[in-house]
């Protein structure tokens, strides 16, 4: 069978483009930073670096894929800074949501959500706030903003658009080779 190469070949040009697409050049600033680093979001204009870092950790905890680098989670949440600038209700939703998340984290583990070391612990915090509007809005957005990044598709073996290559007629639409012979 024709396999899909999951490696992303990052050219400098493509890296800059994807960073630019992420709004406040978060990914560029993040170079080498851990997922929960507030310093990665120094250029956030409306939301605070702490709020942006919280959204980033939340993104991975909600849809964890160990095969995905941090950049895709940062890309997925970067737009909230722009959205919060455009709409006061959004800014409030994030501010109140992050505050609630941290209150829950401090009550349970004595630290802000992003400082809680174990994923399993952080998931219990998310489960506690799951019924509220903040988690619902962030999750509903993430399921699109994470998986709709074309760069992540090859990592899952998904090839995306095919019409420009003449479809799969000559590129493996029926090349399965492991089924038992009837």
């Amino acid at each position: 069978m024709r396999k899909v190469d999951p490696r992303v070949k990052v050219t400098r040009r493509r890296f800059l483009q994807s960073s630019a697409a992420a709004g406040p050049a978060a990914a560029l600033a993040a170079g080498g930073a851990t997922l929960n680093a507030e310093s990665a979001w120094a250029q956030a204009a409306v939301l605070s670096p702490h709020q942006m870092a919280t959204l980033t950790v939340m993104a991975r905890d909600t849809y964890p894929h160990d095969r995905l680098g941090d950049i895709y989670y940062r890309n997925a949440v970067a737009h909230w800074d722009t959205d919060a600038g455009a709409k006061a209700e959004t800014k409030t939703l994030i501010a109140e949501g992050v505050a609630m998340l941290d209150a829950e984290a401090n009550a349970r583990f004595g630290a802000d959500y992003i400082k809680v070391a174990s994923e399993a612990d952080r998931v219990t915090i998310l489960q506690a706030i799951e019924p509220g509007p903040f988690f619902k809005a962030v999750r509903a957005d993430l399921v699109v903003s994470l998986y709709n990044q074309k760069e992540v598709w090859p990592k899952f073996g998904y090839e995306g658009a095919s019409a420009q290559y003449g479809g799969y007629l000559h590129r493996g639409f029926n090349d399965i080779d492991w089924l038992p012979v009837a």
Partner: protein, 525 residues
Amino acid sequence: MANAARFEKSDDSVVVIVGSGAGGGTLGNELAQKGIKVVILEAGARFTIPDFMNDEWPSFSQLAWTDPRTTSGSFQIAKDFPNLPSWIVKAVGGTSIHWAGASLRFGEWEFKAKTTYGQVDGANLLDWPISLDEMAPYYANAENRMGVNGTNGIPHLPGNNNFKVMQAGALKLGYKTVFTGNMAINSQPRDGRGSCEQIGFCFQGCKSGAKWSTLYTEIPKGEATGNLEVRPLSQVIHIEHNDAGLVTGVVYADAQGVMQRQKARAVAVAGNSLESPRLLLNSASGKFPDGLANSSGQVGRNYMRHTTGSVYATFENPVHMYRGTTMAGIIRDESTNNPSRGFVGGYEMETISLGLPFSAAFFKPGAWGRGYTSLLDDYSNTAGMWIIGEDMPQETNRVTLDATVKDKFGMPVASVHFDDHANDIAMRSHAYKQGTAVYQAVGATRVAEVPPYPSTHNLGTNRMSDNPRDGVVNKYGQTHDIKNLFVSDGSQFTTGAGVNPTLTIVALAVRQGDNIAGMMSRGEI
């Protein structure tokens, strides 16, 4: 479009068709071929094949009807997608752009659901006023014009990886009728269109034009006669009538949102089973306070959406289910009425595939965490099938006008209420079990039962009946109450049958075209 007609809004000799999908687009061409002047008013925009996108979310934004709707009832959609009960298209060509192409005739018994199934508690069953014999020539006509493979000497399509997995499991399980389907997708060049390139993305508009859609078949053929005008971005607001109780035309919002009045000799409504009853209800007047054609009280009732669900299975080795046609093959052995299974009616198992973005959104709506994402981690090793079976018509499953939510023109939106019938639940449960067994027979390591998607098969809200008390239209799709008002889409369906509906919608539209032309030549309308 070079020869496309332009008719005056004051021209009361035209037939106005509301909607340009499988029903409206086909009827428009049929009437135009017979020399009858037709104006099709389409709420959506007009795209061309190069406009289509092999990209799930952008394509959804481009094509889907996303105007607000509301939902209630115990069906899972009301929880998962409360403002998106259906996945249908708002564009010239309607949902014939999005459909997968499966073109199956009803079984004879499926036209006689009440007789065949007998009394089913809570179900509002009725026999169709038409038989398979009467429909046969129109099915043949539809298969020929749509280029359905396995008919008219047209070869079947080759099976893709996703089909081969399902086929191997099905044969191991002992199923016999397993093949690549009767698809309205060219397996060789035909009717000026090329053959299938196994692009995938059948749901996003076929970029090779191999799949039949009214957008690039019926509509341009109708326009070439000089008798058909299609007006995109023209959303009909209400239908008007005179003191004698005959319809006289429609009021519609044009592309600029300006209200226009198009006079008409007759009006045919083909806006899909949510919008068609909404339009009749929104056309209520002093003379018809409950809406047009609603003396029976049946407008909007008996809403059916097929008993659906999906089974996705993970394997040790790759499948790449997205390569090639979305609905690449079928198991038909369960498409019988065998009440010993614990339910009446039958169902099909048909391959389905979603790209990664839609898989994430639809495999288990609302789910998150590692338990869920591990399913997506194995995306490339996943095969999928869709279940589509007959659901029971129920009077309380219905489209009404929402009491508070209005569209941008100030008209109440469609409110969809649906509860699964016990028969639907029993059938879905059986189908999940059989689908799981199919995949386990060839080594599935994990199987996921996926709940119904927003419905593309919306049926029955203006149903066909012999007795005017039981339904909205007669056997020709002519409303019982108003002789020059017709219904031309899947909302006419008396019952849903266990097969994909488009072929029957097209066959009914061809038949209706013959009958409208006859009524006009006899001076009846």
